[in-house]
Symmetry: D2
Subunit: 273 residues, 4 copies
């Protein structure tokens, strides 16, 4: 097996996770890293990355790699992806590509013309539960899909400061569900109806965002999907999917902290997701 050489741009929380994972993989070598923060560059140094820089241009100029991972802030994604693609590198970029649809289309054009591969960080496609549902749907286990239901609730809202620059709930959170809706049945969306409200924290509303939402999607062929979101589920992280079709239904449920069941005179108790 040939070794694939990687560069990593951005070593914040998610960048560090990707770096750690790459370092444990066979057939992979991380040859360069870039971050404006000294602490992050030190992290790269401690992990024996040969080339370390604070400049994305320098990283691209270094050149001796075939894939670049972009884990820098959202507002740099579009430019960095373009530059990577123009330099002939395959690109992995954390979501979202950009907050402007126009800019996204521009970048995609550059990527296509460069002939490189682009992958966005939609990790949920690789979650064991969602993957299993995707496979069963693909195998025809539920027949022709009629309705996709996705529940996605976070245990708590991010800081309002983050919300202000994230693009809001639909762009920082529902984005995973929009991707999953397309992925799980392999169909494209034709129509979207979205309704949101502020029910957990007025400060979220004041920041121009919502915390609770229901989205109805209609695919090109009339199949429907419905997504429900909340920024704050008191009981923890709640991620479920259900695909209902002509021959049946498949569900993926939450994983729980453990499988215990406690029976007492008051009822039955179990662990949280």
């Amino acid at each position: 097996m040939n070794t694939i050489k990687f560069a990593v741009a951005g070593l914040g929380r998610i960048g560090k996770i990707h770096l750690d994972n790459l370092l444990q993989m066979e057939g992979v070598e991380v040859v360069a890293a870039m971050d404006p923060s000294e602490e992050c560059r030190l992290y790269a140094k401690n992990n024996n990355i040969p080339f370390i820089t604070s400049s994305y241009k320098d990283l691209i100029s270094m050149g001796d790699f075939s894939v670049i991972l972009i884990c820098s802030p959202t507002n740099t994604h579009a430019d960095y992806v373009e530059m990577g693609a123009l330099a002939g590198k395959d690109v992995f970029c954390e979501k979202p590509l950009d907050l402007s649809l126009e800019r996204v289309l521009e970048v995609l054009k550059v990527v296509h013309e460069s002939g490189v591969q682009l992958m966005l960080g939609f990790n949920r496609r690789f979650d064991k539960e969602f993957k299993k549902v995707h496979e069963l749907v693909k195998e025809g286990a539920v027949g022709e899909p009629h309705l996709v239901k996705i529940t996605s609730r976070d245990p708590g809202a991010p800081p309002v400061s983050y919300i202000k620059q994230s693009g809001g709930l639909f762009l920082d959170m529902t984005i995973h569900d929009f991707d999953m809706a397309r992925f799980v049945v392999g169909k494209e969306i034709d129509e979207v109806y979205a309704k949101g409200t502020v029910l957990t924290n007025p400060a979220i509303g004041e920041a121009g965002d919502i915390d609770t939402a229901v989205v109805t999607l209609t695919y090109m062929d009339g199949t429907m999907a419905v997504i429900d979101n909340s920024r704050e589920a008191a009981y923890g992280y709640d991620q479920r999917i259900e695909v209902f079709g002509s021959k049946g239904m498949v569900q993926a449920n939450n994983n729980f902290n453990d499988s215990h069941r406690l029976y007492t005179s008051k009822g039955i108790e179990g662990a949280l997701p």
Copy 2:
């Protein structure tokens, strides 16, 4: 305990069920029954109902009862309820009251002015599972409700002939879910978005109806609800509810034919709902 005297109008499938139930209750006497069909009147006779007629007017004229159960076809409901109310009877009527909103409002006006009680046949309020969810929500177990989710799928579509006169999926099937959405959190609806499609049987579309639907409701206070419906679930009758709120979530799931679990090398199997 005083005995309450009942009359039953309409002894089709549902009317017979109500009659049988009434005959087994303490403190209840069924003194009169009405149905245009001879077979149905014979059923009443075999159950020793004293006064039997084919005319609703005669039934009302007979008069010696305090409650009337209306189980006749939908297109008679409005008139029969009005006549019962004007005669000073408390009225139980199978849903829907009428297919025209205008007519419904007229009837309600008559009922209110007559000072009698009117109850519609929303049986799901009395289902053990839904009732438990209602109680827990009322007790505050999930805090302030943020989102209500109702899944309601039938094992198979009714005949197209029925669909043609029923008013369609929203009026003959979702009507229970509309009622449940209001009942379970005790709030009124302000806004409705409904989207439907034909995915199971083109004949349903030709009859002007849909077989699959997603409905998003917004309550007066911004709380949301989402309903999903299908005329045909391959695996059986599927009725679930979930209320998500500031302190948690409560779900009612389906009842299954039995609780067995079979583990083999192929996987785990259980009984259907």
Copy 3:
């Protein structure tokens, strides 16, 4: 269908239940009832039983029935079954037939020689859950059975006065599990190891009984079964069975009061069995 005529001997708690059930069945007529208590005979009278007596001999002499149900106290079972059999009646008798094995064998001899049918009240064979397991085992769903596991726990112990005359835990409670162990796999037992102890209430021990037990059974062919019992499960009535075999395992679990699940920050809660 011919009507089958029944007589009922003993109208205590369980006798009344049998009588009520018989009165609701098609093709069945209860023509006679016997009980030494006036209150119980009145119950029969109110249910329009034609022949009512306080003497079992009189009941047998009356004669115009083909089946007798024996629901009288345990110490009368053997004699009553014998007398019924000798009079040519098919007999249903509540368990146990007698506390003495010798006497049981005597009675069975009489029954066989009389050519009548005898059925003992092992109701759990007709429980939906246990029945399903029995059927799946019979169909070969788990292959050749290797191990049967039965859990049987009551919500609370009966009064010590009852325990004193019941024959004790093995004869009044485990008796159902002994029957189920034979029934579920259709095999006979060769060897029994039973171990019991007093853990809930010393008064049970003073009455010469136990409240907690584990019984290991070995069938004629080496297959094994294990039963665990308790007189007092804080969380309610707990009845489960599991059959493990060469191709898999089938379990029947408890039925719960309802299927709700409440998720809060403290964990998940559900209804009791």
Copy 4:
């Protein structure tokens, strides 16, 4: 934090796992490894272990470590533990310590006199599910324990060659359950009744072992436990525990490959444990 120095004796399947884990832990250094096989010594070399030998005596003589892990074949355990203890090392040894109770007692005497710590490889104590049950029992969640139930079934029997030298089912498999029975309620056993049989493969019987077993344990205070074992569960690895007590019951169930549920007209299906 001081670094703890380890030596590893035996680098077969389980020894390699322990070595890999140690190499990933903070505050741990593996300074020496021993194995008679060249391939295993090479494995140590590739992992940069400084001192590598084929002789246990040499390993002990090397001396510059405080803990020794013994992962060599069972028949060396007793001698190696003794030698390690006499050299003043804390010892972790894979189970069992020895197949002879007499020899085990001798070794324990040496260990106690040496004042070192000895830990046996009862990994199931650290399993998330069993640990949770242990904690809940300790906190009194089920009150005073009355009955412990352990189910332990392997997906398939080991080779008959292994069975011949392992000491048999009770010593190579039930040993974990014996340990768990003591651990989960923190009580010692007074009496054991064990019954086994050969139901899966006659070759196991010819090798003098059994493949299916039920064991009833009575603790010093009368509490009971029951263990059931099988060498071959068609549906996979089946490990469950249940502790029933005066205030309730706690269960740990299997983990499944995933949480999906597929509903079709044939029933419900899910993933295996």
